[in-house]
Symmetry: C2
Subunit: 424 residues, 2 copies
């Protein structure tokens, strides 16, 4: 497939972008690449639009779209035990499939071309992603609850999923998903580390999300969570540690030493009152380019709009630090693009010839983007997902003029399974 985007703003200048296969082949002055006009199978008029890299949602539980608005404003444990866990226990692969379809639709409509997922019924998520056309790193929830009978079954399942994933499109990355240190035994964490090393797999884990997690860890292991993981040799440049709210200075150093990747989820942390990630501290520890942004699941956000996440990330650090220069717009934007692409080892996150063709077009006529003194500022502080007009992922047009194929069916079916799930 080949796509020509004509007269679109790239870094403030009017350009043509020529996409061949899944790569950006060339970017030229407007009016250039004339010979390509006849070659291109699809021609998009980019006039009045700006091309930006597609956004990355670096931590979510996609199918939780089904639980959007089902439980809010509750104490954490009551929320989990009365609202979330009982419904999750009833979920089938088909439910997860429709929930993930809805999530992919929502992400495409808001300019996100990749998500890093951890959820139940991996096969349901994988099927939804394969159909949707976006990219994802998918991990199955690995929990053994310190029950000696469990690790074997979890290990076998992960080995089988890894094998199965090889037959799926390249857009789908198989990752390991040890849920957290308070739900997974040392033995299982050790297997994850070994298997990830052997197969060069990313490892997606919740880490130091709440104060209780840190306290429990100190009780169980006599040290803080990052120290414990360092002690068992778990940490590496493949580790994607989500939340990282409660870290000591020493723990930040250990994360840096092991080149661990960090996903910041400001909205979820605020909504659940989990605490605040020490962004400035992590930057000082040299970890800036290791940080990406995620929405977390829809039950604790309650949407998947990365524009909103960038804004709130920037605001929360200004507010808590008392410094209005903290996390400027350029940094928030990099967290959601370039940094995340590096984290997931994808040659994306930047609009440049030779890179993967993950291109989002913003409609500069949207009132939130008028006037356009500074596009990055408008993107981070004023836009929302509805400013996205066109989404191209891996060279394929997933949304054009805000139209996504099959949208009505996805919303209808996902609603149906969601209502059925909570009815019981």
């Amino acid at each position: 497939m080949s796509v020509l985007i004509k007269n679109v703003l790239v870094g403030g200048k009017e350009r043509n972008i020529y996409i061949a296969g899944n790569l950006i082949e060339a970017i030229s002055e407007a009016g250039g690449i004339k010979e390509k006009v006849e070659e291109a199978e699809f021609v998009i008029d980019g006039k009045g639009k700006a091309a930006i890299p597609g956004l990355f949602n670096a931590h979510t539980h996609a199918a939780m779209t089904l639980l959007r608005g089902y439980g809010d404003d509750m104490p954490l444990h009551e929320w989990l035990s009365t609202k979330i866990w009982p419904v999750e226990a009833r979920m089938t692969e088909e439910d997860v499939y429709w929930g993930t379809k809805l999530a992919c639709l929502e992400m495409i409509k808001s300019g996100t071309i990749f998500f890093n997922d951890m959820y139940w019924h991996w096969e349901g998520s994988a099927r939804a992603v394969a159909e949707s056309g976006i990219r994802a790193a998918l991990s199955a929830v690995f929990i053994d609850g310190f029950d000696e009978a469990k690790p074997k079954e979890q290990i076998r399942r992960n080995e089988a999923l890894y094998e199965a994933s090889k037959k799926l499109p390249d857009r789908i990355i198989f990752a390991l998903g040890p849920h957290a240190i308070y739900t997974v035994s040392e033995e299982s964490l050790y297997w994850v580390k070994e298997f990830s090393e052997r197969n060069d797999l990313l490892v997606h884990i919740h880490l130091s999300e709440t104060g209780e997690e840190v306290e429990e860890c100190i009780k169980r292991y006599g040290m803080r969570p990052v120290e414990f993981l360092e002690g068992i040799g778990f940490l590496s440049s493949r580790t994607i540690a989500c939340h990282c709210v409660h870290l000591s200075g020493k723990e930040m150093e250990l994360l840096k030493k092991n080149d661990v990747k960090i996903v910041h989820n400001p909205v979820s942390n605020m909504k659940l009152a989990a605490g605040r990630m020490l962004y400035e501290g992590l930057k000082k520890a040299g970890l800036y380019s290791n940080i990406a942004l995620g929405t977390d699941g829809c039950a604790s956000n309650n949407n998947l709009d990365m524009f909103e996440e960038m804004k709130i990330a920037s605001l929360v650090h200004k507010a808590f630090s008392g410094d209005p220069t903290s996390m400027p717009a350029e940094e928030a934007f990099e967290l959601a693009t370039r940094n995340a692409a590096k984290m997931f080892r994808l040659d994306s996150g930047v609009i440049e010839a030779g890179r993967l063709a993950d291109v989002v077009l913003l409609d500069l006529k949207k009132v939130e983007l008028v006037p356009n003194h500074n596009l990055t500022s408008n993107i981070v502080y004023s836009a929302n997902g509805s400013c996205v007009d066109t989404v191209i992922c891996d060279g394929r047009i997933l949304m054009d003029g805000r139209k996504v194929e099959g949208e009505e069916e996805i919303k209808d079916k996902a609603s149906e399974v969601a209502y059925e799930l909570v009815k019981q």
Copy 2:
């Protein structure tokens, strides 16, 4: 004018809403008010939509849309003195007119039907509001800078504007706008108080926005800002105090005693790192129903989307208090509707027969609103302004199917004047 909205969800039930003149005349079961179908000049199909009260933006400087994204991520004083003030000094009435037109357009597109404004060139704002069809309380910036020559001129101007405002549509409320206690002398504040009493006018003031303001006040007057205003008899139920970030317990009591109204601007307070309003403290002081929400101007937000403001308000109090039950969705929604309507003495903010016809229809097919387990939760935590399909204000349809009259011209002209302003 009469409007019939058929088969629309009101409080979870399918209803018809019949609007006659500027009032909601009747709300009946779907299929009811049959006799009105033929009478109604406009019939709107409400199927798949929910009717909610139009939102109130209780503190802004509307024409600052012209400066959206012009200066961000800077220390407060540098931002004001190098970016905002020099441009404001160059603004003409025509600039303010186009900036306010752009703001009205943005607010209509995001379901806001009222704003409380304080800005330069009052006449420009008033002209824009008169044309736009939305409601506003408009105050001119009253600053004397403690210069003895200034109060007279400011007083004369306000008296003249008040007279002029009587000829404008009822939708426009004239209010007094003493900027703040650090820019307005005691003498002028005293005049404002007298004139507001005599003419029953609302008084729009910035109060205790930053720590510096409190320190300066203690230096100048030997007491804290609210104590100072209480001392000169300034406070009343007509006082609309914006920000109220730095309050002592005693000051909260004084606000309660005088039935002062409070506008919370969480995004602006976060972006400028001004501090956090003590929402839970104000609630304990009995002030809950006196609080509304505002975006502040676009230079410190950088949009006018009240859906976003509701979400961030709720998040910030959960995050800072460590209590995930703080400011539940229902409260955030009330701050932006019922509480604000009361504050501005408008019989609006609720969808009920007999009330002003300020009705917003949400498109329940927007992916952010799917599934719909709880509409209020979806509105506060998941929606953004783009979920609004139709806006009716004062009985007049201002947006239908997201189309607003004259939209393209407003965006073009406002951009033009904005670029011209910052060029110099």
